[in-house]
């Protein structure tokens, strides 16, 4: 275990709210009680002004940095960017990462026990939105005593949460970093969500979401994940990483075993995913992404940010990201410019596809730490211990 520049071994924490009065959801339904899994790194300064909320993507979780045990495999999903001296420098900032409601990695979701029935919710879990995820996070921040975030950052679905925070709670955010994301889920993204969901529905073990007593729909969930992984790569990164290489074979077998390196990679990723993710959560979270459209109820995208012009933005896209293409970010930057917001934008040259937001560590580290440095100066944020 490498503890250099690491936050070391961390412990997941849990916060439960909405026990007495359930939380109102965008769908009109209510949910309660709700537990959110979260982790924190670094120290909150005296006037509680150095908090940064990290929000995760579709399959992410609260464990963003450090290790859960002495096992190296328990490294957090964004450890490259969170830690002492890293992009989100835990020597300077109090970093919080919260799992989303509807998830299955410590937070209330379809696999949680429904207090009314004593059994897992399954499809009785109400449909949630990105707005609901964010509303739940405001309860967590209230609990932690943080009125205003120094910054909120996330890629992909994390970026959607960032934008939802800015649109709904602008008074609670100083700086926002929406990365490799969109202000409205595109028809192509909905199409990929739906194919993933169909893979789960088609698994006979899914049983309309009622499978917690029996065999899980792992084949369907693994297939959904394999489709997802294709969309996170790029044609070029597949060439670079796998080429036409065969795995464990010298020549073609003329059979239907796993042969090509890319096949073996996708199968491995799919199978590993079923060990940690719940198929129903996959349905609910992809649905929440599909519903995400900040234009909804507004004349145009700029109108959605009419009250969010005081936030300082850093928007980042990646040249080879075909899942959330550059023009989505440019549209966002245009809308933010139109309302007069302070927005910095860079389309980073990268061949890694959508995954680039996790992989272009060097560029991202310089960009994010310098941007946060400016925010600290402009808002005169106190140092830890002062």
């Amino acid at each position: 275990m490498n503890t250099n520049n690491s936050v070391g071994i961390v412990a997941p924490q849990f916060f439960t709210f909405a026990q007495d009065a359930p939380m109102q959801l965008d769908s009109g339904e209510t949910l309660g009680p709700i537990t959110l899994a979260y982790e924190t790194y670094g120290t909150l300064n005296q006037d509680r002004s150095n908090a940064i909320l990290i929000v995760h993507a579709l399959s992410g979780h609260a464990h963003a940095a450090g290790y859960l045990s002495s096992d190296e495999k328990t490294l957090g999903w964004w450890d490259d960017c969170i830690g002492p001296g890293k992009a989100f420098d835990t020597n300077k900032f109090f970093v919080i990462c919260s799992n989303v409601v509807g998830g299955c990695q410590g937070s209330t979701g379809p696999s949680s026990i429904n207090p009314k029935t004593g059994k897992p919710y399954g499809l009785n879990f109400p449909v949630i939105t990105v707005g609901d995820m964010v509303r739940a996070q405001t309860h967590l921040l209230d609990h932690l005593g943080i009125e205003k975030l120094l910054a909120i950052a996330g890629g992909s679905m994390g970026g959607m949460q960032v934008l939802e925070w800015c649109a709904r709670y602008p008074q609670r955010v100083r700086a926002a970093l929406p990365l490799a994301t969109t202000a409205r889920h595109s028809p192509m993204l909905i199409a990929f969500s739906e194919v993933g969901r169909q893979a789960i529905y088609a698994d006979p073990n899914w049983n309309r979401g009622d499978y917690y007593d029996g065999t899980r729909p792992n084949a369907g969930l693994a297939l959904a994940r394999m489709i997802g992984h294709i969309t996170y790569l790029s044609e070029m990164s597949m060439h670079d990483k796998f080429g036409r290489r065969l795995e464990e074979r010298e020549r073609f077998g003329f059979d239907f075993e796993t042969e090509f390196a890319i096949e073996s990679y996708l199968r491995y990723k799919g199978e590993r995913f079923t060990e940690r993710f719940d198929a129903n959560s996959y349905l609910y979270i992809t649905k929440a992404m599909d519903y995400f459209d900040l234009c909804n109820g507004h004349r145009n995208l700029a109108a959605a940010f009419a009250n969010s012009a005081n936030i300082v933005y850093l928007v980042v896209s990646f040249t080879s990201d075909w899942l959330y293409p550059t023009y989505h970010s440019k549209e966002l930057v245009s809308a933010l410019t139109a309302v007069g917001a302070d927005v910095s934008y860079l389309n980073i040259q990268s061949s890694w596809g959508h995954d680039a937001f996790l992989l272009e560590v060097e560029t991202m580290t310089g960009l994010i730490s310098n941007f946060l440095g400016r925010v600290v100066n402009e808002f005169k944020i106190m140092e830890i211990g002062n």
């Binding site: 139109a338 302070d342 860079l346 389309n347 960009l367 400016r374």
Partner: protein
Amino acid sequence: MINQTNLRADLRAVAELIQPGEKVLDLGCGDGILLRYLMDAKQITGRGVELSEEGVLTCVRKGVSVRQGDLHEGLGDYPDQSFDTVILSYTIPYLNDPAFIVKEMLRVGRRAIVSFPNWGHWRCRLSLLLTGRIPITPGLPQPWDTSPRARPLTIRDFGEFCERHQVRITQEIYLQGARRIPVRRDKNLRATTAIFELV
């Protein structure tokens, strides 16, 4: 911190035209040195637009708000008259449609400041006459085949351009190297750099 003495002469002349506390947009802001200087020395609110990734990263390192973009596609987002001054420093030779950009600058800003190296300088003229090669100005010392390609222009060209497009020149500053020279009839022969305030 950037001070006046280590700021390039043409940028220093542009900076002198800026009043404290202005809202300034710098198009093609490069490494952000002018905006950083103005933020420190004149407490301006600065925004930059820059095409290169390297330039954007350097601006962010300097704490400058910068947006990566192509001027031809990006200016439309800025509301009318949302800046006091819009600067186009040493960028006009690279533009495909300078008339469009200058008009956009005057829509977005109360005034525009445009600076460029003068290919009408006598050394440039003599160099073409004597060597038969396309002259290189000290301000943009790049050979003709480097990218992005610059289109040479002279002070007279720009004056006629403004007339043609009904843009009013309200101030003109001419430099010979780092030294200011008086506004006289021979400016197009003597100046290496021209700086114009337009409304």
